[in-house]
């Protein structure tokens, strides 16, 4: 391939500089389906001056019942990292893993960003045989290539799940990343502190525990993940495991500080088995060791009419907040927390990562509640995958978690939507944009990626 003369203009050395990036004009949204039609990668026009603003301008069909999930760019600001700089690689491909089908799709958005082209498919067989893993989930562009986490070991459908590497030029799978995985078997998300040569991984459940809806027996037996793991990136080995205790089930999304000199980050625990609350925890470097501490509890709420509860919650009689995603602004100041069950998006000031301040709440959807959207009236589902523009001013989110879980908690339907909230980055606060409602119809709507980068796409090596 011919090289570029200048670094990709979407790469920024530091998160501080990325905040000044131009306003995004497109969003790529993963849209899985539950009706036998193919999942699609949808492109939403975010350019206010455009005739098609707030509309889906293209849909690219991928696999059937594939459950495309946490896709990401082939390259990002980590390409500027000083120890192996290769800034002339282009941010032009989306690496799209299918959490259920185990395929990985490579989409090229360069020629027509509004209409991605499928240029390569790594089918499940190839993914499994080359990586040793199945059910690929999260993708991050790292300093030396593309990292992908997966829920389970190929063949066994159980542990250990882990991480594998892909080449960022030809997208060949290079194989398992870990050298010494230590006690980790359940797997889910991962990210890192590049300034400390440390990676962090989290735990969800094996495929059988989620693919027919959350397996409640397993949940009662507290078999879901409740730990995070700290890794030495240079030696690819597990150096410490932090256990939240099995009261806390499902430790999912990892949001380390973007500033590489800061050694802390946030993780959500979906369910406290004692009271159905959700919680946010801060992990932090503590001398040579790492520690973790709970910083936010979000309680379950009582339904107005218990008869409206879905079967899965009937006996319990409460609505769990089901915090299943969150996003940290590039200045490491604001954390936005999705309460998928109670239909709330919460804003915290986490400038002090151990003393968060709750400064904003926005309501939309929710189990039995269905807080309406000004442009659409009552909506299905609740806030789930959340993404934030690099300047921190526009928050976008969708309503689908995972098809089987949508059906379990929102059995009356979970038609996909994407909305936008405007945030106040000076004093805090957030409000729904009353005119922005993108209707995905019978598709679900999951992960959002913003053109050029967003608040969970890039990693930085300079403060």
């Amino acid at each position: 391939m011919l090289q570029q003369w200048k670094p990709d203009p979407t790469f920024y050395p530091s998160p501080k500089m990325a905040i000044d990036a131009p306003v995004e004009e497109l969003a790529y949204v993963a849209a899985p389906r539950d009706d036998g039609k193919p999942d699609t990668m949808c492109v939403v026009d975010l350019n206010k001056g455009s005739d098609t603003y707030r509309q889906i301008v293209s849909k690219l069909e991928l696999g059937v019942r594939d459950e495309i999930h946490h896709f990401n760019w082939n390259a990002c600001s980590a390409s500027l990292c000083p120890y192996a700089p290769h800034p002339y690689i282009e941010r032009r491909y989306l690496v799209v893993p299918a959490l259920r089908g185990s395929n990985i799709y490579i989409l090229d958005v360069k020629d027509d960003p509004k209409s991605p082209k499928l240029i390569k498919t790594l089918d499940a067989k190839e993914v499994e045989s080359r990586s040793g893993y199945t059910r690929p989930h999260t993708v991050h562009c790292g300093p030396e290539g593309i990292y992908v986490s997966a829920l389970a070991a190929a063949g066994s459908e159980e542990g250990p799940g882990g991480i594998f590497l892909m080449d960022h030029y030809n997208f060949n799978i290079l194989g398992q990343w870990e050298v010494e995985r230590g006690p980790q078997s359940l797997s889910y998300d991962f990210w890192w502190h590049l300034g400390y040569d440390v990676a962090v991984t989290s735990e969800w459940g094996y495929p059988a525990m989620i693919e027919n809806g959350l397996n409640l027996e397993d949940l009662m037996e507290r078999k879901f993940g409740h730990k995070i793991h700290i890794w030495d990136i240079r030696h690819r080995k597990n150096i410490q495991t932090l256990d939240l205790g099995d009261d806390y089930q499902m430790t999912l999304e990892l949001r380390p500080a973007h500033d590489p000199t800061k050694a802390y980050g946030f993780v959500n625990a979906v369910l406290n088995m004692n009271d159905l609350s959700s919680s946010i925890w801060t992990w932090y470097k503590d001398g040579d060791d790492w520690g973790i501490q709970k910083i936010i509890d979000i309680p379950a709420q009582a339904p107005e009419n218990p008869d409206d509860l879905p079967p899965v919650l009937k006996d319990i009689g409460m609505i769990p907040p089901l915090v299943t995603d969150h996003i940290l602004s590039l200045d490491d100041k604001f954390l936005y927390v999705s309460c998928w069950g109670t239909g709330e998006m919460l804003q915290y000031d986490v400038s002090d990562p151990f003393n968060p301040k709750h400064i904003g709440t926005l309501k939309i959807g929710g189990i039995t509640k269905s807080h309406p959207h000004p442009a659409a009236g009552p909506v299905s589902g609740g806030p789930q995958m959340v993404e934030l523009s690099r300047d921190g001013k526009r928050l976008y989110f969708t309503n689908s978690l995972y098809v089987a879980l949508d059906n379990q908690f929102y059995p009356e339907g979970a038609n996909g939507w994407m909305v936008k909230a405007d945030t106040n980055v000076e004093n805090g606060g957030l409000a729904l944009d009353p005119d922005f409602f993108v209707d995905f119809g019978e598709s679900r709507a999951h992960q959002i990626r913003l053109q050029g980068g967003d608040s969970s796409s890039d990693s930085y090596c300079y403060p």
């Binding site: 391939m1 011919l2 090289q3 570029q4 003369w5 200048k6 670094p7 203009p9 790469f11 920024y12 050395p13 530091s14 500089m17 500027l80 990292c81 000083p82 120890y83 192996a84 700089p85 290769h86 800034p87 002339y88 690689i89 790292g142 300093p143 030396e144 290539g145 030029y169 590049l194 300034g195 400390y196 040569d197 990136i233 240079r234 590489p260 000199t261 090596c461 300079y462 403060p463």
Partner: protein, 213 residues
């Protein structure tokens, strides 16, 4: 060795020093991570050492080869390697893989050695090395323990001069970027020196082939 050769070693050091991939950028990053200038300066010494070792390997391999291989054959071989490496670098964006910011003296020395070697830093000196009196020494091998020592001293001086200019330039760029300019520079001024480099290697290959003395 003529003035032209000394100047070439020096200028080549300047060129390597400017390249962010070979030193100053990492030094700046370490300074920013630790938030002190001493970390920037401390990184420069192992970087210079690693760079010097990489250059020295090429210099001494060529010197040895000059004693064993007929001049014409060696020149054609070197020209082929240079040109071929240049073509490879032109078409391939492959880069050395290294992950790790927490590096000590040894790590940084190895890192710098790897980067310089992977970029073919020493190879650029080959056209000039082939013109040094070492070639003459090979023609008169029978008379010269003394001239062999002289030769080794001269080659070491070549490595030294090159490394010194690399060190000075890397150091100046690192300090200026760390203290004054900041990293916004990377977005504007960082053009693909590796691509330029690959073209330079191809030219060096051609020069080697035809530049007899």
């Amino acid at each position: 060795m003529d003035t032209g050769s000394w100047l070439s070693y020096t200028l080549m050091g300047v060129y390597h020093g400017i390249n962010p991939g070979m030193g100053w950028l990492f030094a700046v990053a370490l300074g920013m991570q630790e938030k002190r200038r001493r970390a920037v300066i401390g990184a420069l010494f192992p970087m210079a050492l690693g760079h010097a070792i990489s250059i020295a390997v090429v210099v001494f391999v060529i010197a040895l080869a000059q004693r064993q291989i007929p001049e014409n054959v060696l020149r054609i071989a070197c020209a082929t390697v240079l040109f071929g490496f240049g073509v490879y670098k032109f078409f391939s964006a492959r880069h050395p893989k290294w992950v790790g910011m927490r590096v000590g003296f040894k790590d940084l020395t190895i890192w710098s050695f790897l980067m310089a070697s992977a970029h073919g830093a020493g190879l650029m000196l080959v056209p000039f090395l082939l013109r040094t009196p070492a070639a003459e020494a090979s023609a008169h091998m029978h008379h010269a323990p003394a001239s062999m020592t002289d030769n080794a001293v001269m080659l070491l001086s070549a490595v030294g001069v090159h490394t010194l200019s690399f060190f000075v330039v890397t150091g100046i760029v690192a300090i200026v970027v760390y203290e004054v300019v900041g990293l916004a520079l990377l977005r504007k001024a960082w053009f693909n020196l590796d691509l330029l480099w690959s073209i330079a290697l191809m030219i060096a290959g051609i020069v080697t082939l035809f530049w007899k003395h």
